[in-house]
Symmetry: C2
Subunit: 367 residues, 2 copies
């Protein structure tokens, strides 16, 4: 998407054709800096230090990391070392191991001199495939926004289509377009008048920092709100639909997403507001049905609750403590929204009911 | 309640018998400082600068402010001037105008030489009455906690009674005991094993700062969580009951309280967890029925969302910006929880259903 008029992806080959460039997401939203990755080791650090984040982008970065590593050492040992180092960067990202296994399986059977070119080509392909998936679900989802705009006009209401989103499921989490935000970007680019209510998404504030930044840079109207505010806005007709992403979707349509998603789905249900979840099919875990009982929820550092970082008046990044000394804090990273609260799932194959029947209609091979 | 073993109220007469002392709540939770008020003007600043906050405490401070002012000038003009200056400190606090009108009505008919003693006596009485109200609702509410503890034991469950609260409705917002926290303090002082999940309560973080501080200083076990986390905890049996305060309660039992209360009530309802609201009868607005339609919701500065203050590693208080430059923010201060989601209202006359019938049983004079 665009950053102040210029088109970007989150990862791309540099002009010299061999190094890889990324946006340093740890410095957003206050600074926009591009990092040049020249080695597999440096790509690994980009993942472990969260300079890149979001499962699809982590996968693409790992693939390019393999290409950079093979450029230095294309031997079997070189491929295996790069695989191991890159795999150790983040504990649970499914796309990470998938991309690395894919690259290794491609490279090892090839003659050593052919490996470098193949690695670069496959990394580019993995990136392009991710863009195509995001674009596809963006187009399906945009139809919902177009319909919401039409029904607003039909009922004589003024103003933009108001969409609530939670966390960051935008182009910064993928290679381009995003998941939850892809329908919004497609609709916006088609000229639909949209406005996004951005949950700040405590404790890591991905909404207030990343979602607000990327919407603003692309030119999409948006307003940041405390996570507490969505229910009030829904009660007063200020939200036309909700779209979130998901980290893991069960066979039954339950959605495990950033903590707090469940509360917004409850409020949407209570106010008859459509609540959609956008997802590439890779996030569907066909082995799990009951999300609340079966999905373990990661607990992260309490410091993410007790402390927060931001920019001081003199432009420095500083971290401050919010809680009194001695008060414990707990930090659950995700929650599970039961399928009964979800209006539909926006996938790269189309939109379906959040249910096993709905998903199997789009994915009959999983029957 | 206690601060590290020593009993405090939020406002008291100093040892010399004429000045008034308060806790500087703007410096909590990082610093505990006592301020000495010697003039009516200084008392007015304590209210306007939010060194004291919470409707009952504002009322008590205004009453003592009148006493301090009358000490300097007990003439009719002195009484009227003090009334006007103190009334202008905060725009909407009902207790403020009530306490000031009460003091003026008492003082003006008296001979000038009798006014000072009468003013001090009435201010002390207003404070004591507030303590009695909080203590009464605390005792009614504590029965719910005792019963929850008993039913935990009966069903063979270990551990404390887990109570979720939102915002700060503790002793810091009243003269002592609090409203939502009064039942918890009474139960704790009776030896019941309690643990409080404290919503941080964005954007002003009254939970993470004030509620965590006062629970910690009194010795009550507690854990601060992001406002997003309560639904997940309820899904997993980690919350036995919820108690919040209220700024305004309608005749029908709707509750207007800090933004985000509605989302927690929805989650409690979805998980069959009791959701109680504690209130002194003075917060009931008998002229309003439908809270969502009839109560206007204050919008506060966007800076409370885009910026936050805390303590840096070197002990200074600093403010940092969380959002990108150019992103708008909205800041709705309250939301309305419909009575259908509320299990019961804990008042200083007892506990009743959140309904007009329930309220009128306790307050038959309002029929």
């Amino acid at each position: 998407m665009k950053v102040d008029g210029k088109a970007f992806r989150t990862i791309w080959l540099s002009d010299d054709g061999w190094a890889v460039e990324i946006i340093d997401q740890t410095r957003l939203p206050h600074e926009f800096e591009i990092i040049r990755l020249e080695t597999g080791i440096r790509a690994a650090r980009a993942i472990s230090d969260m300079e890149v984040r979001g499962a699809p982008l982590i996968g693409a970065t790992a693939a390019y990391g393999m290409a950079l590593a093979v450029r230095e050492d294309a031997s079997d040992a070189g491929v295996e070392d790069a695989h191991a180092v890159l795999l150790a960067t983040r504990p649970t990202a499914v796309n990470l191991s998938w991309a690395l296994d894919d690259m290794r399986a491609l490279l090892l059977p090839l003659p050593v001199p052919d490996r470098m070119a193949a690695a670069y080509a496959r990394a580019a392909q993995i990136s392009d495939e991710d863009v195509a998936i995001s674009r596809a679900l963006g187009e399906f989802g945009a139809e919902l926004i177009v319909r919401a705009a039409e029904s607003k006009v039909a009922s004589g209401k003024d103003g933009p289509v108001n969409i609530l989103t939670h966390c960051n499921a935008g182009w910064l989490a993928t290679v381009d377009w995003g998941t939850a935000l892809a329908p919004i970007y497609v609709a916006f680019d088609e000229g639909i008048d949209v406005h996004v209510w951005v949950d700040e998404t405590r404790p890591r504030n991905q909404g207030a920092s990343l979602t607000a930044w990327e919407l603003g840079r692309h030119g999409v109207a948006h307003t940041v709100i405390a996570d507490n505010a969505g229910g009030h806005l829904m009660q007063h007709g200020e939200i036309d639909l909700c779209i979130t992403g998901t980290d893991r979707t069960t066979r039954a349509g339950d959605v495990c997403n950033k903590i707090g998603t469940y509360l917004k789905a409850l409020a949407a249900h209570d106010n008859n507001i459509p609540f959609y979840v956008a997802l590439p099919q890779t996030t569907i875990d066909w082995t799990v049905s009951d999300g609340i009982r079966e999905i373990p929820i990661e607990q992260r550092s309490a410091e993410e609750v007790t402390h927060i970082s931001g920019r001081t008046d003199d432009g420095k990044i500083a971290r401050v403590q919010l809680t009194p000394n001695g008060s414990a804090a707990a930090n659950f990273a995700f929650d599970v929204t039961p399928a009964r609260l979800i209006t539909g799932l926006i996938t790269d194959r189309g939109i379906c009911d959040a249910s096993e029947e709905g998903l199997l209609e789009l994915f009959p091979e999983q029957k």
